[in-house]
């Protein structure tokens, strides 16, 4: 092919594409950024009758103020930044919120004469003057309003998208104007790869829209499934009582928690702080507002008893290795394809459950060896109206 033709052709196409991309960049960026879960909360400021030095308080909290050699640094246990992992110790925000509406004396008492052994041990070397306490309290009040420092974003899709756009622009500029790289093929490869990357990001964002795989929100109580299910070997169905016979697996009510926690008042590592929340809920008659992790759209009917009770599925098949999770997380994407895939391969208790006796033809086929197993699909498990009505 004529070289000038190729160059010209690509030039036009790419310039067109560039223009198009610049036009599309704004909506796409918005789209991609909103498809990432974000949450805003309203904040209100409460007036106080004391006023300390926030800066000073912050310095104390971060251990920058000189409090003596052995004084523990608050922030080394009480995180001030949002974290993914589980920190049993209350974060600065939690402390702040807990004491937000309480007086200085109460705060001071809690800090300097703690009740739990862990705290006793750690706080033993802590010496604070009244002024220090006021400063820290003022700082924490502010934290209670502002919340934790958001964690540093890992490379977010939006940024990646912009980066790729920049790469494309640079490659194009070089291709047409600066001519630094002699081999034109390199430009093309770079541009094509970058575009492919962008398409991938956008399509993934589009698919993930309305999905929430890996969703793992902060819960009001640092409830660790690992501690309960793994270390203490509590069966799933002990708490999620209705999974076998009800539509919902059920989030245990506080009285169920109290079955154990009336005795277990203090965790080995976690101390009292989190368990106290359960107790508080029970005493104050305030149910705990858990954040729902596994959400299905309204147009899907899902029944736990069908899967756990009749289908004899293990919880982990859909929820993953919950007993390994400190913070519960949605492991599967819960997409329709995921459901259907399982329905296509999963065997039903065809011979054990007398209900299936009605499927005479399948039984005949099974007996004659025509089929080896009966999957959910064989008995209509991929029909629309099994889940959508």
């Amino acid at each position: 092919m004529n070289n000038s033709f190729v160059v010209q052709f690509w030039k036009r196409i790419l310039l067109g594409a560039l223009l198009f991309m610049l036009l599309m960049a704004i909506p796409v960026a918005i789209f991609v950024s909103v498809s990432e879960n974000t949450r805003d909360e309203e904040k209100a400021v409460v007036k106080k009758d004391y006023a300390g030095d926030i800066k000073k308080g912050q310095r104390i909290f971060f251990g920058q103020a000189d409090l003596g050699e052995n004084a523990p640094v608050c922030s080394s246990c009480h995180n001030t930044v949002e974290i993914d992992s589980l920190n049993w110790y209350p974060s600065s925000y939690e402390i702040g919120s807990k004491f937000e509406n309480k007086g200085l004396t109460e705060f001071k008492k809690a800090v300097l004469s703690p009740s739990t052994p862990t705290m006793k041990k750690v706080h033993a070397t802590l010496t604070l003057t009244d002024q220090d306490v006021t400063d820290v309290k003022t700082y924490l009040d502010q934290v209670a309003v502002d919340g934790l420092t958001p964690k540093k974003p890992v490379i977010k899709n939006t940024l990646l998208l912009i980066l790729l756009t920049i790469i494309i622009i640079i490659a194009m500029v070089d291709l047409f104007f600066t001519w630094k790289v002699k081999f034109k093929v390199i430009h093309l490869v770079v541009i094509l790869l970058a575009i492919a990357g962008q398409v991938k990001i956008v399509s993934h964002a589009a698919i993930a829209l309305g999905r929430s795989q890996d969703y793992s929100p902060d819960q009001p109580i640092k409830f660790s499934h690992k501690v309960h299910a793994d270390q203490n070997k509590i069966d799933c169905l002990y708490c999620h009582t209705t999974a076998e016979y009800g539509k919902n697996a059920g989030i245990p009510s506080v009285n169920l928690c109290m079955n154990c926690h009336i005795l277990v008042a203090e965790g080995k590592i976690s101390g009292k702080y989190e368990i106290d929340k359960v107790k508080a809920a029970y005493i104050n008659k305030k149910p705990i507002e858990w954040i729902r992790v596994h959400n299905l759209p309204d147009h899907v009917y899902f029944n736990h008893s069908q899967h756990v009770g009749a289908g004899k599925l293990d919880c982990t098949e859909c929820h993953g290795e919950v007993e390994e999770m400190h913070i519960i997380k949605q492991v599967e994407d819960l997409s329709m394809g995921w459901c259907i895939d399982c329905h296509r391969t999963r065997e039903v208790n065809f011979n054990e459950n007398r209900y299936y006796g009605d499927y005479k033809q399948l039984h005949k086929d099974m007996k004659s060896g025509k089929i080896k197993k009966v999957t959910v699909e064989d008995i209509g498990g991929t029909d629309c109206a099994k889940c959508h009505y």
């Binding site: 008659k285 305030k286 029944n303 459950n353 209900y355 033809q361 209509g380 629309c384």
Partner: protein, 995 residues
Amino acid sequence: MKKYWKSPEELSYGVNTSQEDKFELDHKNAVIDLFEKDIPEKATSRRSFLKLMGFSISAATVVASCKRPVQKAIPYLIKPEEITPGNASYYASTYYDGTEYGSILVKTRDGRPIKIEGNELSRISAGKISARIQASVLSLYDDVRYKTPMISGVDSDWGKTDVEIINKLSAINKEGGKIVLLSDTVISPGTIKVIDLFKEKYPSLEWIQYDPVSYSGMLVANNKSFGKQVIPDYHFDKADLIVSFSADFLGTWIAPVPFTRDYSKNRKLDNGKKKMSKHIQFESGLSLTGSSSDKRIPVKPSEGKVILGNIYNLLAEKAGAAKVNVPKSRIDINELVKDLEMHKGNSLVVSGANDANTQLLVNKINYLLGNYGKTIDLDKPLYLKKGLDADMDKLVSDMEQGKVSAILFYNANPLYNFRKKEKFEKSLDKVSLKVSLSTSPDETSLIADYICPDNHYLESWNDAEPRKGSFSLAQPTISPIFDTRQAQDSLLKWAGAGMDYHSFLEQTWKEYIFSLQEKIANPKEFWIHSLQDGVFDVSSSNETAIPPESIEIYGPVDIKPAGEGLDLVLYETVALGDGRNANNPWLQELPDPVSKACWDNYLNISPSFAEKNGLQNEDVVEIAGLKVPVFVQPGQAEGTVSLALGYGRDNTGKVANNVGVNAWPLVTLVDGAQQLSIEGVSVKKTGKKHSLALTQTHHSMEGRPIVRETSLEAYIKDPSSGNESHEEAERNKVTLYNEVKFDGHHWGMAIDLNACTSCGACIIACQAENNIPVIGKEEVKNRRIMHWIRIDRYYSDEPDQPMVLNQPVMCQHCDNAPCENVCPVSATMHSNEGLNQIAYNRCIGTKYCINNCPYRVRRFNWYKYVDNDKFDYNQNSDLGRLVLNPDVVVRERGVVEKCTFCTQRIQEKKLDAKLENRALRDGEIQPACVQTCPSEALVFGDLNDPESKVSRMFGSERNYHLLEELHTLPSVGYLTKVRNVKAEEINDAGHDKHA
């Protein structure tokens, strides 16, 4: 059938210790902010929390933007044992609103009632309920209900209200002033005891039971004949010949549901039965009952009386009894009398006239025919109607004379439905204390000094004795949504009883009703048992005594000849009855079984009258001062026009206000009984138009074999008679592709057209079960009604004397469904259980399936019907949406929907079977329509099971499929209608003449 009964520990409900009380209250206050601020939170039960809880999950998931909302999951603080979130519980209860009685099961999900079903243990309603009872659950979530007690129209609280009322009542009592309690018929033994207690405290109390549609004439007549002021129980199943004079016993007369059930028992021809009852109806307007009859003779009401007299005379002549003075009837009745004589002891003559003389004649005729003790039971009378019309007039004159100092309105709304409401209102001025116990605003409560809102019946304790010896209990299924109090509690409070109605009722049952039985030795156990069952019947022998022979027609009877003028007949509609439920949008939108009109009342005129006066549908005429549109109703008797009661309400709520005209003022009083027929009216054209919302506008089958009918005579000769085209279709059946075989289940439904009376209960049951929106008059007029099941009604024969054919039509679940094939996006296809399924979320709304469905059973969501001010019905408010069934998706704008055979119910029962490790039982799965059908015309089951009832019905020679010649292979079968007439009568009237 497995039901989840109320569990014993729940019985402590209502006797909360104060600590628990506080606990619950705080607890609820905490969550109430989360969901809903509109509902005042006062009630003190865990159930209200559950209600809100259930609501939060279903409502909070509307994804409005791309942002994923954080969904909170709030568990119970302390989970009640008997509630599993996401699973339904059923509680036995009782419905009685003064017009209809039903023993019911209330289905609750997460603590809120969402559906009413029939209680199969009841010997009266036997698991079947009417459209009105089905719809009653919606009125629980009515926004207009009174939310707090009110003093002179200003919100108040119970403490203050009680103190003031007690003070005033005591003062009146001291002065010896008369206190009147005006209620409708009270059938609750408990309530009667409460009123007795109230009377003890205030001896000047006069209790008047006032029935707007009264049976006063019958009560008086029976008193005169037998010394019993009661309504007897009728056994339509035992009658082989039923002659009814304007008694719409399948639609509105006394107890339509039990009557329909009994009636259809003797109309069905299943299992090769060759005998059925013969039903002859004399009436003016075409009623539901008339349309089901074998022979319907349109007559003027006055003519009906003449005919009765003639029948009596012929019978009396043979029996040698005294005759009455009666002019000769224009209608030849010799044949009928002969027939009646042949059916001595198994015939039944009933009359809907509220006139003691006519009822005396009827009594005498039945007596001469030996029907007492056989088809009529005086020993176990029905208590459903007790009001005497004379009492009301006496009350008005008492009030005018200033004799009445206080009046309490309990389920009574005379300012709407009393014939002289102006006079009543004026005389009320002289009453110093007016207290209304109304649940929601009505015409009467507006003028009351004190409004002490009653609970909705689903929030209340109660009992009932609809028939002597048959008791039932009502229990609350949700704590009061608003700050309301049960009327009985109010009365007890004012009577200073220091006891709430719950314990009072329990005590009453333990003391009195307990003693009526011997089976259970422990009163507590008896109470729990009754509460679980919902009903209690005194066991007694089925034999009934024949009343003494000494009855005589009271006084000399002279029957006037029928007048020549135009008669106006007022009637109750099946949907609205006397109008007390007018604010229920489901009922307003239920098409009348005969006219297929909704959202209006109208003057029915006969086609010949219309022609004579140049009137057309929708022309507004003036009659007795009312301006109403006319509706040309085939079968309207010559010389009569008829108009429905129950419309024209004001200040009742956005649904009922200004719908239709109020016809109650036209009622007249003759011989101390309110008459619903008025002689000598005139109709004047106004030249205006008022549009009517009709759901069917073409009434002839055009000679098509749609509803197939035959005569009993022909049927006995050849069971497949009338169904010849079925054979033809079977013969011509060729198929390009092999028919699909269904392994496992193949759901099907059989509909016995002989049993269906077109009462419409199935329509409302379906609406409640499947979250079907109400669309309002304008949209119904645009022919967009959303009901998934409809009842087609065709006329054959002459327009002035038509034969009526009814046919319920829902999705036929065709195995070769034309609709499935044309959906481009695979939103609708066939399940391996033979269901025609639709995935709403896949539908893009091309409406091709609607066009390609020869049955036109698919519905399109033309607008957004939820949360849209243009459709300001129950789905437009948070409260109204609480009635939604959480198992069924609320459809979005722009998607097609249709009958699913209640897939959710099929799945539920299948799951139950799997969990219990057993095979499904026949009849276990009941779609909502089947469950409620009072005549059991609909049967659902598995066609793969040769023993199932539906398979047997499919095997009947009468079975055919709608439009089977199209080879759509429907899973719904119809059984031909058989009329108990001679073969030539069908041929005359049958299919070809009107083509």
